[in-house]
Subunit: 215 residues, 2 copies
Amino acid sequence: MTPPLHLSLAGQAVDVLREQVLTGVIPAGSRVNEVEVAHQLGISRGPLREAIRHLASEGLLTLVPHRGAFVPAADEDEVRALFELRTALECAAAELAASRRTDVDLVRLHEVCAESRRDYTAGQPFPYRLDLAFHRALLEAARSPRIAEQVWLVQQRVVLLRSALEDDPPHQHASLDDHDELVRAVEEGDAARASGVMRRHLSRVCAQMLTSLKA
Amino acid sequence: MTPPLHLSLAGQAVDVLREQVLTGVIPAGSRVNEVEVAHQLGISRGPLREAIRHLASEGLLTLVPHRGAFVPAADEDEVRALFELRTALECAAAELAASRRTDVDLVRLHEVCAESRRDYTAGQPFPYRLDLAFHRALLEAARSPRIAEQVWLVQQRVVLLRSALEDDPPHQHASLDDHDELVRAVEEGDAARASGVMRRHLSRVCAQMLTSLKA
DNA sequence: GAACTGCCAACTGTCGACAGTTGACTACGC
DNA sequence: GCGTAGTCAACTGTCGACAGTTGGCAGTTC
């Protein structure tokens, strides 16, 4: 659609900054100095400002007038509010997926589940990458571009919050089971059950993040 | 919270441009010329560009590299996708409102419903303003800031699409009934019914917009 | 007459510099 | 010693100008 969006300096700056924010290179709570970062990226303040505003609109930065852009710190209420939004979106996506999924979608979903379980039984730590891939595959099956867009933004914010946490993976087994059950519900076209499982799944993940947050 | 956000030229430009886009002063499909509009607002291109990018992030403008910003035209698929998102968000809000509403919220909801019905029975055309006020009051009762944020953005986009349509108000009676029933469900704390009524309500509004679109 | 090529004007993308504001540091008064 | 007013450096907000790209127009060729 818009293939060469990365040609503009602002677009490149968005990518670099997003990566730095999400991976914690720019730690939570710290400020983004325009002149410093601009010089560091070898660009002017103009494109950098655009990039900063763009990331702010995605919720990855918070703007304070005359003070600059900050990486939002993880906050208990924020986690709860964010997961309420995520639940609303992904439950709807699960319902839609149950009624719209094609055979290709099912193959993809089974693949991701199998790969996750393979890694898990092999003792590997069920990379977060595969969890994202699963939710992405489900979104694809839902075929609702606007919902997908928003889910992607919310997931990014969750990644940001998660980056501030030391990742403890005790709930991985339960998540794998949730994913499997979700795929079954979608396969059978049971929208209500798909939504219910998703809600339970996200509720568990949210609770786990909240306990991690307190530590 | 952030009272003097209107002091920055970019912030002012956002307000003015938003108004012009939503009211159709800048018609759908037309382009926004940076130098022209900047001169027209008496500001430089810098703040105006920020304003344009901001509105684009809200979905009120679409950016095309090296071509500029355009007011998105109403499209059938877009309406459907947007209402899928809106349904997901507002059904969740209705559920939350049913379990979190306070007496003050109920008073406010009843007020808005009464005012709407008063205007309607008086032969007045049930201003869109009151419809927005109702959905806003419901959102307030839901107490989920992130969901409220997104609903507000989606409603804005709906207003934009609606501005391109000649407003035919044949579904107003049904909408009033929907609102009343929604308030009853919220009052009784019946989350499932609140969600169901909201879904039916939005489905009807969406269908009405689609038929208006074809004309 | 149609298609192709080269040129041109208009506009967006980018840059460096100036002005206004913020928060902190210092010095003074009590 | 503590609170307060004044000062200052750093940073954001804003501006005008330059460079690169796009789409259209005129001229040319077949």
